[in-house]
Symmetry: C2
Subunit: 153 residues, 2 copies
Amino acid sequence: MTLTDDDRRFLDLAIEQAQIGWDEGGVPIGSVLVRDGEVLAVGRNRRFQMDSAIRHGETDCIENAGRLPARVYRESVLYTTLSPCYMCAGTAVMYEIPRIVIGENRNFQASEDWLRSFGKEIVVADDPGCRALMEKMLAERPELWAEDIGEEA
Amino acid sequence: MTLTDDDRRFLDLAIEQAQIGWDEGGVPIGSVLVRDGEVLAVGRNRRFQMDSAIRHGETDCIENAGRLPARVYRESVLYTTLSPCYMCAGTAVMYEIPRIVIGENRNFQASEDWLRSFGKEIVVADDPGCRALMEKMLAERPELWAEDIGEEA
């Protein structure tokens, strides 16, 4: 799917976050929340870094954005380097974020049809950089990845 | 629906957390994660207390439980004083928590059918104490409640 120039720029920012997460020893998934071309927050999976069970890329980003009124989420776009798990998808549903741009969904995909059922616009970039990060993750840190998505290692 | 003695005990613990949250100035929703009759963690909504967008009762509880292997969640019960929003429901789906005991769903209900579609056992206590806490919330802190579930105040 074709990205706009803005989409490309914000997805690259999410990839930068994912790379930081990998370099920290964590799960390389990054996220950015944007409204009207303005970055509200960036975030990255911090399971390893914060010993967290709920800081996925998207939830960390939304947490970093702070307390926002409902209307802000409803005018925002959520960028994520990997297709969201149900926790993160559920967060986007609860806050009614209308558009989600996904770096890739070959290495993980669970919630996209469900998100579409709420009328959300789902854009999948199938980005080689996002895929490469997750392929490295699956090859080199498979147990951390299994833990991160609630799967048996 | 009839609760077991254990259910009653753990729901009371969740109510205690909700009351603490109310007394702190926050949203009175509490949660407990239990495996084999053992409390793994308690939690409460801490939007107000931590300026958090993702610390609902259930997610706070799961965060407090720390990093757990997948099999622990799959043998656990999640108690919550109020029917879960999609963020919290999605977290239970992602971690494959098989049973959820809900204090009440008259003041909020979104995800129960969806949770059942994954084969989860959903028990609704319709507990007067849980209802009273949420009725006080809706009457006295309606704007905080709207913010908490991504609704326009």
